[in-house]
């Protein structure tokens, strides 16, 4: 079916692919941690009793969830230099865009997580004299996070796959590295097949982990 696959090309381009993979992983990890932190703040804002805060957070989340990620990536890449007057570079632009974009998604997961904690828990925390912030920090959020761990990880798998979209602004991720080496050696098929396998292996391993976590969380509850 695939007649003369040249596997030597793959070996020769490994160092370059490795650099691309590292950026993809860095982007995933940064957007995940930044997205969870910002998303948690968004979730708290969405559940706040202060109406303007609630509405602003809802508007942010709903807007970002209604726009394709590629558009956000492109827009951010084009608009930021106009606003700040200096280019930030494709990689930095990608890191910021992904963090802001993923915050909307992680935020919705954390909101469901916070709502999954029984109200009595907050009452008990407040009854001890903990402030609102302390109740959240020590009682509600740890439980919300634990309950939502499988969903947060699933979102991270999607995020990892989506990082390949930074290809649109020329950031040097795994997919871009495959494209470049594919062109250099004139062996695009080999390179695309190989990186597809890498994406598959990582996502498959992660989704196995999610399944194990789901079982674990179900028992503890």
């Amino acid at each position: 079916m695939l007649p003369n696959l040249d596997l030597e090309v793959v070996g020769a381009s490994l160092p370059f692919l490795w650099t691309g993979l590292l950026f993809s992983l860095k982007l995933t990890l940064v957007a995940m941690s930044g997205g969870i932190v910002c998303g948690t703040l968004l979730a708290l804002a969405r559940l706040s009793s202060i109406a303007p805060l609630r509405n602003a957070a809802a508007a942010y989340v709903n807007t970002l969830r209604a726009i394709p990620l590629v558009m956000v990536i492109l827009w951010f890449f084009l608009v930021i230099p106009l606003l700040t007057g200096k280019p930030v570079g494709a990689e930095n632009s990608a890191l910021i865009t992904f963090t802001l974009f993923e915050a909307a998604f992680y935020g919705e997961i954390m909101r469901a997580g916070i709502q999954s904690v029984p109200r009595g828990q907050v009452a008990a925390a407040r009854a001890l004299g903990l402030t609102y912030a302390q109740s959240m920090r020590h009682v509600v959020l740890p439980q919300a996070f634990r309950n939502m761990l499988p969903l947060l990880l699933t979102q991270t798998i999607i995020l990892f796959q989506d990082t390949s979209l930074v290809y649109a602004i020329g950031a040097k991720d795994l997919l871009k590295a495959a494209e470049v080496t594919g062109k250099n050696y004139n062996r695009p098929v080999e390179m695309y097949v190989f990186v597809a396998l890498i994406y598959f292996a990582i996502c498959f391993a992660l989704s196995r982990l999610v399944r194990r976590l789901q079982a674990r969380v179900a028992i503890v509850r």
């Binding site: 828990q121 407040r126 009854a127 004299g129 302390q134």
Partner: protein
Amino acid sequence: MISICGVSKWYGPTRVLDDCSTEVAKGDVVVVCGPSGSGKSTLIKCVNGLEAVQRGEVIVDGVVVTAPKTDLNRLRARVGMVFQHFELFPHLSVADNLTLGQIKVLGRSRDEAIARGLKMLDRVGLAAHRDKFPAQLSGGQQQRVAIARALSMDPVCMLFDEPTSALDPEMISEVLDVMVALAEEGMTMMCVTHEMGFARRVADRVIFMDQGRIVEDCAKESFFGAPRSERAQQFLAKILQH
């Protein structure tokens, strides 16, 4: 110690507390009972400001709970509360449940908090379970830990909201025993409960509520002897049947 004065509360148009007034003197045990939805939980939550009231005044140990400037967190640290569904923090070990409030609210050191917490845990008979998680304990044990958690804060008074009504019958007495001991040591207690045996044994007064109103508020002897209102008579007849 606790003084509730002309308190009214509305949820939207529905009035859930209607001009409630009562006093709990230092060292007294007051039992609050009444049919479901009569406002018992709401009343007891007004004492530590978990529920705000629209009218009237609540004073606890000299602190006006209903005044807008009151530091409610500081007040709550001194008022212990025990809930129907225990509300232990499931992600924390028993020891951490006991120390969280002491460390974060009272500013105690970890060692100090552990020492105090373990003393209270020992008091409710569960010292051996310090490293377990709440889910590993029976309902009765969880409620006793919850009582120990409240006591670890060295409260000036204790509030109980139906502490035994979520428990299997065989676990009720282990929790009541702890409460009786507490009452006998002179703790000021306000208990929402339908355990009339407990009321007979340690209560100084019994309050009967119906439709947001305090219908009876009298010494235990006269409550069990002959409640004045018809509503309370019916209620007593019903729960004493079982």
